[in-house]
Structures are given as structure tokens and as C-alpha cells.
Amino acid sequence: MAITVETHDRLDDAARALASDQNARFHGGGTLVMRTVNEGDEPFSKLVLTRDPAYREIRSSGGSVVLGAGVTMSAILANRELSFLHPVARSVGGPAIRSAATVGGNLFAEAPYGDFTTALLALGASVEIAGSGGQSSIDDWLRDRDRNRNRLVRAVSLDRVSDDRSFRFRKISRVKPKGVSILSIAAYLPGSGSRITGARIAFGNMAEKPVRSSGAERALDGQSINEQVAEAAAAAALDGLNPVSDAIASEWYRREVAGVHLKRLLIEG
């Protein structure tokens, strides 16, 4: 199928173009969509882009930060106020991927990609849809992701993490210094100095899309981290999770190592 490319100056126009054509896909940084285009016979016939600077804007006010969906991993790494997200952004690809890959694109990335979204899920971000689409929690947005494909994400907002110990992220891959992830873990542990309340533990690649581990969260809530608590969280981590088998790792392998890596993340930080 021949492809047409439409570039809009204004984000809202791009959103309308996307919404009005089921055969359209949005081109954020291109790292995912161009791969599909290069393979040919893609399941869409139109690419929609926007030049709107708002799409690439990073805004912080008070304790919260708004990342335009077109913000790249490189832009996050270049922003000192976002240091808590630097380990996450750095885990995505090499430098040449990071200067293209966007926050919005990562939301749609299918396993084994989407490590940044895993972090957003743990951080309880909210997703802002362009036009009059409103805002939804990332949990809800991910649940409906397949239906959201033609609704342009304008931005993602989240509370800034000031205490380094309360947000932890690890991407596990076989290739050093980095490769495609076997799995990634993001842990938001408010009050990790003493007792944790409202822990959010998210796994990447332990299902078709990033998922929270309610088992691990229950095991951590109201506790302070020690060997025993970490052990309990690791033991409960897989409750309700259905890891995939792919060329990177089998379901069995992912099940075997997920708890081990969660425990290390909790103990070693």
C-alpha cells in the first residue's frame, strides 16, 4: 500500500487528522513506525506528523512536570530537573535512538520495548489527550491502549521525585552495556526511609504491556525495606503476571529472574 505523509503545524490539526482516518498512524520520533514502513505492506496508509513546538515542550511547575509527548529521550537527559528520569531515558537504545525516540512513542511501544512507560506507570503519571480528549491515569490509558491508537497523546504529567531513594529503575538485558530488555522494573517507594505507603511496582516485558505487580505492592505497603520484606515482595511479584516468550527470553526464564531482580532493586537501590 502506498503511504502518504501529512505534516501539520498545529498539534490539534494533527490530532484531528489522526482521529478522522483509521488507516492513519502518528509519527513521533519514527523509531517504531519507520521500522514498520521499511518492512513494507504496513497495516496503515497515512503518517501524520506535527511541527508544533508545544509537542516537544518540557514544563515544570511546583512539584509537577509536564512532558510533551514529542519530548525525546535525549531532551530528558539534557534537562537537569529531570535527573530522576535520567537512568530511565538512558536505558532506551543508544544515543542515535534516544535523539529520535519520544515519550509518546514509548507509550505505544510493544514488548520487548516500552521501558520508559514502565517507569511512567510506577510514577503514576497521567496522560493528556489532544483536543478535547481530556486526561486519564496511565493505568487506565494502558488498559485501553489498543483503542487509543488514533487519539493523539499531547503530553504526560507526573510529580517530580525529589528523594532519590523513593524511585528506582532497572533494565535487565543480556548484552552489556545494553541490549533489548529481558524485563525492566520501576519501583516508586514513597517514604522509603521509614515505612512505605502507596508503593507502585511496575514491570516491563512481564506481559504484553507494562503492568503493575499488585502482589509486590501489597508485600511492601506499610513495611520498611529489609531482606525479609524484599524476599516477600519478590515471592509475590509474579501474582497475576503473564510474561511473554520471545527471542530475548522465555516465559520460564522471565518468571525465574523477575523476583531476583526485584529483590536486588529493593536491597541495593
Binding site: I3, V5, T7, M34, R35, N38, G93, G94, P95, S99
Partner: protein
């Protein structure tokens, strides 16, 4: 198929060409304007041999929609030499056996240039990170890392930031 006109700077020269909708930059550089230095390895963004600089930032040209470079500046390995003189990175790669089959070399050079342009004195770890998106299947990484480090830490004159 619709053709779109695109203009951009390539290694300092103004280029104008026509691209197909959906065509990637690698294809346009190689077939459209005849710069054969960036190579095709995967068209998936996994091998890095097509790495070029767009406005100074490293990009996989295979994943770059060609028309998005309109008005931008693209740098490839063909732009490294200064007249007949090799770029210090090229010289180091050549003298220190940092190229075996040579197919990853253009991408490695561009990834290294992207690093040294912003960080002239990188640590070994930073060099490793900078080429982490580039695969050398002859597995000559040690020689490549050493060649980049031998250029880094030298005076800007030696490195010759351009």
C-alpha cells in the same frame, strides 16, 4: 507515487532532491544524493551502521523519515575529511586497527564524533555508552574504544572540531 522536494545541507553543501512518501533518509542519502558512506545493516535501528548527525545529534538514518530533514544539516562520514587530510578519528581508527571488515566503521565514526563534539574528554564508560547502539560483528570493540579514547583528551586542535 507522489514525490516531494526536500532541501537540506549535506556536509556543508546545499542539496535538493525529491523523496517518496515514507522514504527513509538512508535511502535518500545513498540513492538520491549519492552519499554511499552511511550503510544499510538492518532498517530497524538496531545495528547503527547508518548513523548520521542531524543538526549535530546522532540519528539512525534508516529510521528517519527523509522529509523531516528539510532545512536541517546532515553530516556523514563523507564530511569528516578536511581536504586531503583525515579527521583525527579516521586516522586513529586506521592506525589502531579499529576497522576489520569496515562495514560498521562509518556509523562508529559518527557516533564517536557525536560524543566528542559535546564531550571532548569522555571516560571509557562514556565511550562505551556512546557506541552502545552500534554493532561491530567482527567484535573489534576494544580497538574501537581505544581509538576513540586516543583522540579524546587531546587538544581541540588535534581533535579538530569543525
Amino acid at each position: 507515487m507522489t514525490k516531494k522536494p526536500v532541501q537540506f545541507q549535506l556536509n556543508g553543501d546545499q542539496k535538493a532532491t525529491f523523496v517518496d512518501d515514507g522514504q527513509n533518509l538512508l535511502d535518500v542519502l545513498r540513492r538520491g544524493v549519492g552519499d554511499l558512506t552511511p550503510k544499510f545493516g538492518c532498517a530497524q535501528g538496531t545495528c547503527g551502521t547508518c548513523t548520521v548527525l542531524i543538526d549535530g545529534q546522532p540519528h539512525m538514518s534508516c529510521l528517519t523519515l527523509a522529509e523531516t530533514v528539510e532545512g536541517k544539516s546532515v553530516t556523514t562520514t563523507a564530511g569528516l575529511e578536511n581536504g586531503a587530510e583525515l579527521h583525527p578519528l579516521q586516522k586513529a581508527f586506521m592506525e589502531q586497527f579499529a576497522a576489520q571488515c569496515g562495514y560498521c566503521t562509518p556509523g562508529m565514526l559518527m557516533a564517536a564524533k557525536a560524543l566528542l563534539d559535546t564531550n571532548p574528554n569522555p571516560t571509557r564508560e562514556e565511550v562505551v555508552e556512546a557506541i552502545s547502539g552500534n554493532i561491530c560483528r567482527c567484535t573489534g570493540y576494544e580497538a574501537i574504544i581505544n581509538a576513540i579514547l586516543s583522540v579524546a583528551g587531546n587538544s581541540p586542535q588535534r581533535y579538530g572540531v569543525r
